[in-house]
């Protein structure tokens, strides 16, 4: 199974090289970094490390960056794509677990930090409330039991790459993408993973933004339920 690792990155010059080194240690060579309009040396350091870099001319947001990576994977004919974040939170040791889900016929495999018995990852109290709320919302509306709906540690099979390269939510995309996948008839599953704290830097989702995120994503999911399934945008 030809697999591409996509890494959306925004101002992660302090983390990107270590993330790439870790991936190579685990045997992954097909890597592309999508630089989402960084103002630091993220793209330069990634290119220096010898990986392909797609430089977006300005910041488009995580959704557009991931979609760019998926479009690239589709163009190059990859069988599977794994998204991993550039801040070191996602442990590459679990990539093969994600890919085994694709190998079993699932189209979208989500790495859940809440399923792993040894996971010591703790996010903020407000974020945990948001995660549980979305878990309930997605289960109720889309019939998908997802314990970690905001996890960006995901593997995409061919059908998911085909769908999401055409239509992918913009900001805070993960919960909405899960609902879109289920409504398009894709098979979604979760595997346990361990997540770590950021190596350095600050998360783009801070406290006050968490509330906006919850309102926005809830409304987006509810409105998505009213749209025809799998319809490309534009």
């Amino acid at each position: 199974m030809r697999t591409l690792i996509i890494i959306p990155a925004l101002n992660e010059e302090n983390n990107i090289v270590r993330t790439l080194e870790e991936l190579r240690l685990h045997g992954f060579e097909d890597i592309v970094v999508i630089d989402d309009g960084s103002s630091d040396q993220t793209a330069f350091k990634a290119a220096e490390a010898g990986v392909k870099v797609l430089k977006l001319p300005f910041n488009l947001g995580i959704g557009a960056a991931v979609q760019t990576g998926l479009s690239f994977a589709k163009r190059c004919g990859y069988d599977a794509v794994v998204r991993i974040d550039s801040d070191g939170q996602h442990d590459p040791a679990f990539i093969r677990d994600l890919l085994s889900g694709i190998g079993q016929g699932h189209d979208l495999v989500i790495g859940s930090r809440f399923l792993h018995p040894d996971s010591q990852y703790r996010s903020s109290f407000v974020r945990r409330i948001g995660i549980h709320f979305f878990s309930w919302l997605i289960s109720s509306l889309a019939g998908a039991r997802v314990s970690d709906p905001t996890s960006g540690f995901q593997a995409f099979g061919e059908k998911a790459v085909e769908l999401f390269s055409a239509v992918y939510p913009t900001d805070f995309p993960e919960p909405e993408a899960t609902v879109l996948a289920k409504r398009a008839g894709l098979s979604v599953c979760e595997v346990p993973v361990k997540m770590r704290s950021r190596m350095s830097g600050v998360s783009s989702i801070r406290y006050l933004r968490t509330l906006y995120y919850m309102v926005k994503v809830t409304l987006a999911i509810l409105l998505d339920m009213m749209k025809p399934a799998g319809r490309p945008r534009g």
Partner: protein, 117 residues
């Protein structure tokens, strides 16, 4: 039907219209958020008119309608300013993309000339 009731109906229609624009992907939630806040605030003040009356008198407006007009004018000015800022940002992005296209075109032509096949 009284003015307050008409206002409530119009705000409800506006909220439904905005939701439908988002559903049809003509408008993103990010840009609709401000409109939602305005609509819900307007709806709340249309329901609790005494609050609006007391607030307008506190600010020195004799008639509540004068205060509403004043707020609407300044809201339109502020919205115009926001749109101007947004247009400028879009123009800058267009410029950057045009420059990148020109540079990419040159690179492609250069590669073609060095490798005709």
């Amino acid at each position: 039907m009284q003015a307050g009731q008409i206002t409530i109906v119009l705000f409800c229609v506006l909220i439904i219209l905005i939701l439908d624009l988002i559903r049809r992907e003509k408008l993103s939630f990010k840009y609709a958020f401000g409109w939602f806040c305005g609509c819900f605030l307007g709806l709340a003040l249309a329901v609790f008119q005494d609050v609006l009356r007391a607030f307008s008198r506190m600010l020195g407006f004799v008639l509540m309608s004068n205060f509403i007009f004043f707020v609407c004018v300044f809201a339109a000015i502020f919205l115009g300013l926001l749109l101007t800022v947004f247009m400028y940002q879009q123009q800058r992005r267009n410029d950057i993309m045009a420059q990148r296209i020109a540079l990419l075109q040159e690179e492609i032509e250069s590669l073609k000339s060095h490798n005709p096949k």
